[in-house]
Amino acid sequence: MEYAYLAAGLGAGISMIGAGLGIGIIGRSAMEGTARQPEASGDIRTSMIISAGLIEGATFFALAICILLALK
């Protein structure tokens, strides 16, 4: 079915909206935190990368489903 391609494309786009929002919020909070307490910037950066990586991991689960739909 051609609809599978449509579903895969829409799914990839929608999951990217979620991931973008999530990573954007993390980035904003990290920048605010660093501006407020520059001496804690190292710890904040590590926590930021961990959280961003976890969001990325969840996004890849969504993208794996999209790829499965497209390759069906």
Binding site: T46, I49, I50, G53, E56, G57, F60, F61, L63, A64
Partner: protein
């Protein structure tokens, strides 16, 4: 401004030399399609494009027996009933090498002539070869570093020269910022060797993919799965009694909730290495696809508006590709760092052996 102009001119000249032969080739042999997935896929040869190819050994199991061939050509000419998949579709286009005696492989995809099923294909492939090269490079670098520290620096272990300084900076970074901060002061030295090996293996594999003729081994899901399997195994062996108690019977939770919580926790054991696998694989593979997609825009423009528009649009696409390439160098380091850091985090979570009261007291002290 002048530098940018020079870059544009250079890239256009470079593109002209690359793009023109593609246009003049006959359409039957070279259809106007770029198979990007074929380009990032695993192959049974090492490609050194204008010079030639090095075919790799084939190890195949069929008829309940293992068969070894030194390369694909010898498998095709062995008389064991192998045929290149390309010849099945084009029987009139058989190519020969070595004065017309030996049949030459085209697609390097061996199938049985009688249509029988191949039981197991354990052939050496290009991704495996570059994985091994990266392993040898890690051994070489670390062996050399160790001997240098043993011989040249008796005076307080100070690094000397570019080689030692470069690697000492990275090693100290992995030890202090990845291992110590995630695993904890008591146990981090036990796991630092693994984390260092993983970091440098992944880093070298990623950077090999950016070299001419290089292949990104980490864009293969099997390679990253094996790396994640190591982390998974080490995490389980690092697990303390406390860790297993939290996984199997979470303390302080109503008994009825355990019916839901325990399967979720056990599932969580396996989703962690899965996320590691897919993160590294997807990042490296999508980087390669991105480069091919942007370079492919030139051919798309040439197809839609004519060859000269396509060549002219290279002024936009080639610098854009160079920009993506620079990002890929950064991503090589970042993905090696993220893989190692998540490995350290998982090991640290499993190996932490303080109980809750101690934990809270520890946090309050800070």
């Amino acid at each position: 401004m002048q530098a940018a102009l020079r870059l544009f001119t250079l890239s256009t000249v470079f593109l002209l030399s690359v793009a023109l032969p593609g246009f003049s080739a006959d359409p039957d042999a070279n259809p106007k399609r770029i198979d990007m997935l074929y380009k990032i896929a695993d192959h049974n040869y090492l490609d050194f494009k204008p010079i030639g190819k090095i075919e790799l050994p084939r190890i195949v199991r069929f008829d309940d027996q293992w068969h070894f061939y030194i390369n694909t050509t010898s498998a095709l000419n062995s008389g064991d009933g192998w045929v290149d998949e390309y010849y099945l579709a084009n029987p009139d286009r058989i190519q020969y090498k070595d004065d017309g005696i030996k049949v030459a492989p085209v697609s390097y995809h061996l199938v049985r002539a009688d249509g029988a099923h191949v039981q197991f294909d354990a052939s050496i492939t290009s991704h495996l070869m570059w994985f091994a090269f990266s392993g040898f490079l890690v051994l070489l670098v670390f062996g050399r570093l160790a001997s240098k520290y043993n011989t040249t620096t008796r005076d307080g272990l100070l690094p000397r020269g570019t080689f030692m300084n470069l690697f000492e900076a990275l090693i100290i970074f992995v030890r202090d910022d990845i291992a110590r901060s995630n695993i904890g002061e008591e146990k981090y030295l036990k796991y630092t060797p693994y984390l260092l090996s993983a970091f440098f293996m992944i880093l070298f594999m990623n950077l090999f993919g950016l070299m001419p003729w290089g292949v990104t081994s980490t864009s293969d899901v099997m390679i990253t799965a094996v790396l994640a399997l190591f982390t998974f195994t080490i995490t389980q062996f690092a697990g303390t009694k406390e860790y297993w108690k939290h996984v199997l019977v979470m303390p302080g939770v109503p008994k009825l909730m355990l019916i839901i919580l325990t399967p979720v926790e056990i599932l969580g054991l396996f989703t962690k290495p899965f996320a590691l696998t897919v993160r590294l694989f997807a990042n490296m593979a999508s980087g390669k696809l991105l480069v091919y997609s942007i370079i492919g825009m030139i051919f798309l423009f040439a197809d839609m508006f004519g060859n000269w528009v396509g060549i002219g649009s290279a002024v936009i696409w080639v610098p854009f590709t160079l920009f993506i390439y620079a990002i890929k160098i950064f991503a090589s380091f970042l993905q090696a760092y993220i893989f190692t850091m998540f490995s350290a985090l998982f090991i640290g979570l499993a190996a932490a052996d303080h109980d809750h009261e101690h934990d809270h007291a520890h946090e309050a002290a800070h």
